[in-house]
Subunit: 179 residues, 2 copies
């Protein structure tokens, strides 16, 4: 009996750590020999610290791979809203193709739930991705305010809850830590 | 004006992702050029996926460094309780020395809060570490049931809350994902 059962995971909530824990999971999975793809739905352009480090990891192993692709246009503004809608559509198509490709053991759709929250994508489209996935593929979705139809479809849901934040006491966001 | 303000951070709660997000933060910080030390207070012996990947990262950069040290003895059993108490004491001393060394920008004391929960360390000893740190050092503590005196001393506290877990529906823990 094959014990691999693809988990559908969600990181949601108003706290820090949704994407950070996703990157940590990518690190664990890659270190354990899995093939890992991270598609970033909102972020684009800027190379963050974690991306920089993961790009270095991409080159290490001959046996398995880790890959990060930025599909977003960054901060969502009303002026370029249609461009963000189009980018989300393209990202969705890429996600669908990669999910069906059987090249990956874990696919992380980072911030895809924000695409729903901000009206770029329908939650039903994301539910479709969950339904078409090969049964052994692990899928992780991140973003605030996960809609109920996605929660219902997930195996493992973690809410990152803000208990206390330094902005509340007037400390500036710290490079390398908070961004 | 120097804008670096060392943050004291805590990942707590009954959900997944406390240590995983810590490793993700380590990745981000290292990728952003910070020097990062991870001391594991409970884990020992077994090389997990994330440790394996971070060990590969240790070799990449000539400019900054990332280092992981396992100071624990693994799963805490009653039979070897005193050995665990001793190991926690040693880990505490290592943490104190490294905090004062000024070699690091971020020190992660992974699972140190479990040491309190399981009676290996007093919370006051951990509070002392927070108090003696150089003002620019970022410190991250992880573990379930963080005591109030540590929450009060922290700048940024995130609770990882379990919303739904596959064990609840009888799916076995998945290698590379959950361990």
């Amino acid at each position: 009996m094959d014990e691999t059962h693809g988990l559908v995971m969600i990181h949601t909530g108003d706290g820090k750590g949704k994407s950070t824990a996703a990157f940590g999971l990518a690190l664990r999975a890659y270190g354990a020999g899995l093939n890992v793809l991270i598609l970033q739905f909102i972020k684009g352009g800027k190379i963050s610290g974690e991306l920089h480090a993961l790009k270095a990891l991409e080159k290490i192993s001959a046996e398995n791979k880790i890959e990060v692709r930025q599909c977003g246009l960054g901060f969502i503004d009303k002026k370029n809203f249609q461009a963000h809608v189009d980018a989300a559509q393209v990202a969705l198509e890429i996600a669908r193709a990669e999910i069906l490709s059987e090249r990956w053991d874990l696919i992380i759709l980072d911030e895809i739930i924000y695409s729903v929250k901000f009206g770029l994508l329908d939650a039903e489209k994301i539910l479709e991705l969950i339904k078409i996935r090969p049964p052994q593929l692990h899928l992780l979705l991140t973003g605030r305010d996960a809609p109920k139809i996605l929660i219902d479809a997930a195996d493992l849901v973690t809410e990152m809850k803000l208990v206390k934040h330094p902005f509340q006491v007037g400390i500036r966001a710290q490079r390398g830590i908070e961004f």
